[in-house]
Symmetry: C2
Subunit: 261 residues, 2 copies
Amino acid sequence: MSNTKDKKPLILVSNDDGITANGIRKLVDLMKQIGEVVVVAPDSPQSGMGHAITIGNTLRLFRERIFPEVEAYKCSGTPADCVKLGKHHVLKDRTIDLVVSGINHGANTSISVLYSGTMSAAIEGAIEGTPAIGFSLCDYDPEADFDHADEWILKITEQTLKRGLPKYTALNVNIPPKRIEKVKGVKVCRQANAKWEEVFDQRRDPTGKPYFWLGGNFVNFDKGEDNDEWAIANNYISVVPCQFDLTAHHAINYMNEEWEL
Amino acid sequence: MSNTKDKKPLILVSNDDGITANGIRKLVDLMKQIGEVVVVAPDSPQSGMGHAITIGNTLRLFRERIFPEVEAYKCSGTPADCVKLGKHHVLKDRTIDLVVSGINHGANTSISVLYSGTMSAAIEGAIEGTPAIGFSLCDYDPEADFDHADEWILKITEQTLKRGLPKYTALNVNIPPKRIEKVKGVKVCRQANAKWEEVFDQRRDPTGKPYFWLGGNFVNFDKGEDNDEWAIANNYISVVPCQFDLTAHHAINYMNEEWEL
């Protein structure tokens, strides 16, 4: 899967914060140093969309000229829709060498990978057999500083193009927030065992009817040092290779032994 | 995790086709034979929502009296939102013994598990440490006949309550469409290696602007006989135990060996 040709690799860029977010602008700037960039990204924020796709409704796709010298499109759909449209419509006669998504404004470590629109774009690339990376900065500030991540994002991208990834995998890359201490390096690791403990904030609208805000506290059950939460807490960049076979293979034997059907 | 008490198990029911779908009415009727049922389901169809949750927007939740003698609520959010609201608001002082979702009008085999709202409700249950099952009928007709599945849905549910599931797993159960030949039985299996090959149907709106319908052809790469596509094609009910650790564990060694970072 490595790119050995002389021509520049073709890189499809998407995200979930929307095409005007600072994070995607930074990612486009970095990818332009490596390859030919085409952007298909949501026309509005799509955080928390998980692996949603647009069924039973139509999609819009329009040219957008906000990135200098880069072919870009804004799409009314989800991040997964964007990659599908990029692959099967915008670039349908060409081979995409890499799908990258982000840089997300906020962490997508541990369980958050399931809810992440950023990672759904990357996993959609992996489903197509294309190497793919989702980048997230563990800082929710829309004005967060991404510069400390530049060299690492370039390195991880170049290694992905040079060394390839096992088929049907996408990388979930999380970058610690900018601190006084420099980032220590990269840890290839597993998804931490953690979850969100939901708290619903119930309020009343002006007519007296109830409504809710979803909120929650993050609870980390994982005592290991080989997971993404540990890496970020210790100022490493976490790289979790992800796949989309949800089968709990260990449970098949259990059920075939214990169940009576 | 088995229910050994005398009291009836508490079963939270959700779906992605919306609270008025035939599939959830059938599931509620079946679950009432086994336990105490509480329903929290979307107020409108949520097919293809994957593991989306509602961030940056509010949620509504209202009592709905369409199921005789059953406490039920319709929610403006996604299937994952419904289970979160069911667990942390509606039933927050009680222990849920089982989360069931469906019966979906349409298959959620192989790769479709990623896009499935039905399964996101079940997986949300698994994240909470509660045994969970998503049921889908491989028939997209809203008026499809579910009766041939009754005995199997009851059996699988009873076994789940009696034998339990390994922690953090949810069952993805797909039921063949009604045929002249009776269902042959149940196969515990893995998710097939298959994907959707997208085809976008481009049209023009009355003002001349383009829009798209997402469509696609299902492509099955899997030659095995231990997967859900094989089971359905051979008139078995497929049961795939699913988990939510997306780590491609096999890729970690590869990257630690081959990559230079």
